[in-house]
């Protein structure tokens, strides 16, 4: 079945909904989402959204932009970072006007709190920049945007999973989609398609990401010849609950929480004398792992799963209940402890993809290092790479990225869809996807997808994790290739056509395997340490050879790497100390 729209948005997290809100003002818009919109992962974001409002102390967008560039270890495109910081202020007021209940100062203004890597006057000390709605900021943003989209009568197709992209040369004309309820294939033809499918932390064993974060958008694009940018940069968040990976927001440290080793020492004093526990995430995560390796973890056995303590006991029950209610709940539910009485056992957890589908400042997808644009194809949010996060994202900058660049992409689409010629697609556009699905469901015997998922996640966690080296990454590439071979024979056990979640999970596994391969290959090729990419065999940053974005092309069974310049037009790269 073919559906005709002017604009199709894939994903209904913060980025997709904001884009839909803008695009629908001027074009006939559909939003496809494999989850119900308000169930999207944006709802999990706890800590806040940054903007230099200066409500509680002096702050400037320029400082915010600089922090973003430095936090990203100078791999950030600097004009894009300035846009992010400048448009942040209007974005927060827009959300407020639409009814988002932010926390307030005693005078009734929007309250702001500290977050890692956000500083005053180019690094002098921490600044209060994160606006928040208790620890439910993402949930509130999602609700607010969804209410607005419903008001604008955007058409929602919930539980529709995109499996392929229709491209003719460098022009996009739609997507191929499976409907979960019936198992039927649909074609959505559109002049403009925007991917906002979120992250892909499910590549890793221990992650803060939900099951749906399987990187479908980037994987579908990669299989259609679009490169993925900076895939080697994946953020590990310092404070996941030990063993589970569930996130304890940085807001706990923002409110004064302290990391301690087995001797009760505040070890961040040694690694980051100025910012201490609020240093950027890559630095804190590495420091933690170094402590564990030195036998200073709580057990002290130097094992990879040893852990540290996040101490919030001195904050008092009152502050915890008022400012971090969900986190107190988490600790009680998952650990049976009250953070007001006991320290929280934590360990870094795979959290955020800095890399993704390359775009310009309007969300238009770029095909190569010459800046060739794919007409009608857009991306925004975590699945995209503008790049404002470079080699390491600062906390609260992701929600900001969603609203600023989701909005910009939506506005551009509204213009584009009006002017562009109509597109024509016929049923044959779904042929490849149909063959693939028929094969997976042909009822023959095949290996179990679950084991492949397990092996992939373990390999990625152990060999392409926080610390990396040539030997292990090469092993990872080989192992992932091997898993991709085995994957070809995987079959679904459940062959029913209604609500066949088994089938969709196998499709998602295929996506994760492709992204794992691109990640490992990109990481292997970058022979330096920068931001979240930290190599034991090349411990220094190497601006002469590697101050450049990687572009990884998936070509059948191999990965071809190319590189693209970084925009350093405002601040000259400097060593990064905190």
């Amino acid at each position: 079945m073919i559906h005709q729209f002017e604009t199709v948005i894939i994903g209904s997290g913060g980025a997709g909904l904001y884009a839909a809100l803008e695009a629908s003002k001027n074009s006939n818009t559909a939003v496809l989402s494999k989850l119900y919109p308000i169930r999207s992962h944006t709802g999990a974001a706890q800590g806040g959204i940054s903007a230099a409002l200066g409500n509680v102390e002096e702050d400037k967008p320029e400082w915010h932009a600089f922090d973003t560039v430095k936090g990203g270890d100078y791999l950030v495109d600097q004009k894009a970072a300035s846009i992010l910081a400048e448009e942040a202020i209007q974005a927060v007021y827009d959300l407020e006007n639409r009814g988002l209940p932010f926390n307030r100062t005693p005078e009734g203004r929007i309250d702001q709190r500290r977050f890692g890597g956000h500083t005053r006057n180019f690094g002098e000390g921490p600044v209060r920049r994160a606006c928040y709605a208790a620890d439910r900021t993402g949930h509130m943003i999602l609700q607010t945007l969804y209410q607005q989209c419903i008001k604008n009568e955007v058409s929602f197709f919930d539980e529709f999973q995109v499996v392929d992209l229709i491209l003719e040369g460098t022009k996009c004309s739609g997507v191929v989609v499976v409907e979960l309820a019936t198992g039927k294939l649909h074609i959505f033809s559109a002049k403009a398609v925007l991917f906002a499918t979120g992250g892909f932390g499910r590549m890793f064993k221990i992650t803060s990401n939900a099951y749906a974060n399987s990187g479908d958008g980037p994987a579908v694009c990669a299989r259609r010849g679009i490169p993925l940018e900076d895939m080697e940069f994946f953020q590990f968040h310092p404070t996941g609950i030990k063993g589970l990976g569930i996130l304890i927001s940085e807001a706990v440290r923002g409110e004064g929480g302290i990391l301690r080793n087995r001797d009760g020492e505040r070890f961040m004093e040694e690694y980051s004398p100025t910012l201490l526990d609020l240093a950027p995430r890559d630095i804190v995560a590495r420091s933690m792992l170094t402590e564990v390796r030195n036998g200073m973890g709580i057990r002290g056995d130097r094992q990879i799963d040893d852990y540290l303590h996040l101490d919030a006991t001195h904050l008092g029950k009152d502050t915890l209940m008022k400012k971090l209610p969900d986190i107190s709940e988490f600790c009680k539910t998952y650990l049976g402890i009250d953070p007001a009485d006991d320290p929280i056992p934590v360990l870094p957890t795979a959290h955020y993809a800095m890399g993704g589908i390359p775009t310009d400042e309007h969300g238009r997808v770029i095909l190569d290092n010459k800046g060739t644009i794919v007409d009608g194809l857009y991306a925004a949010g975590e699945c995209a790479c503008v790049s404002v996060h470079g080699a390491n994202r600062l906390g609260t900058n992701s929600l900001l990225d969603l609203v600023v660049f989701g909005r910009r992409a939506g506005k551009h689409i509204a213009q584009y869809a009006k002017g562009a010629d109509g597109v024509k697609v016929d049923e044959s556009a779904a042929d490849e996807a149909r063959q693939w699905i028929e094969q997976i469901t042909d009822g023959s015997e095949g290996p179990h997808g679950g084991h492949i998922t397990d092996e992939m996640q373990t390999t990625m966690m152990e060999k392409v994790g926080i610390y990396r080296n040539e030997k292990e990454m090469q092993e990872a590439v080989d192992e992932i290739q091997d898993l991709r071979n085995r994957y070809r024979d995987v079959r679904v056990q459940d062959t029913s056509s209604t609500f066949n979640t088994d089938l969709l999970e196998i499709i998602e596994l295929g996506n994760l395997l492709d992204l794992s391969l691109l990640t490992a290959a990109s990481a292997l090729d970058r022979k330096e340490s920068r931001g979240a990419h930290s190599r034991e065999d090349y411990p220094e940053r190497d601006d002469d050879n590697f101050l450049k974005h990687s572009l990884a092309y998936l070509e059948e069974d191999t990965v071809r790497l190319d590189y693209k310049d970084v925009d350093t037009s405002i601040w000259e790269p400097k060593p990064r100390t905190y």
């Binding site: 200066g54 209940p101 926390n103 203004r109 099951y211 988490f330």
Partner: protein, 251 residues
Amino acid sequence: MSNIDLTLQIWRQKNSDALGKLETYTLDKISTDMSFLEMLDVLNEKLTMEGIEPVAFDHDCREGICGMCGAVINGVAHGPEKETTLCQLHMRHFKTGDVLVIEPFRSRAFPIKKDLVVDRSAFDKIIQAGGYVSVNTGGTPDGNAIPISSHIAELAMDAAACIGCGACVASCPNGAAMLFTSAKISQLCLLPQGHAERKKRALSMVETMDKEGFGNCTNLRECEAVCPKSISIRNIARLNREFVRAAFSEG
């Protein structure tokens, strides 16, 4: 850590038109460290091996945030643990020999799609009827925006904590959606941004609630008891006030 053996009686229904019934399965050596959904994963793996269709159930974040999961366990929505979603329920609350009856969130307004999966889109219809701010009430941003006292902001925020899981509807003997609707109305009517449209909002959201097949509230308070986000029924009182005020002034 210990292991327990369980008997499960689970509602199986092929699709919204088919007739459903409870099927019995046994499951041995379930670690008490597992979450309830992990226990269902184990069951599904076992069923798949035996050539039986796995049990369909909704989930995503598995950390109590997204509102996807939900089932009625031995008559209680989201199970016996207070203030948690089903995904946050742990098997340590059960013991060997327990029989668990697992049913979908039932209500006239939530048709069953398959097994434990229900269609909660009626909630969207309620939001659509007015659960948003459409008039731009903010002035030019001057660093102050709209001043709101922190007490009011907190009340609005508590109401906005609703994740739309539908446990309130499933637990209500009348199948009312009052807690859900009142949470949405409270959030907006408490904030100055939401004042302009408050009358129209209250009337049309309540009207839609009735139209979608939700029942009436008779103050049984079952909803508050199962709500994973502890939304207070004081919000219902606020909704009633809003509604009465709107109804009278609209004439």
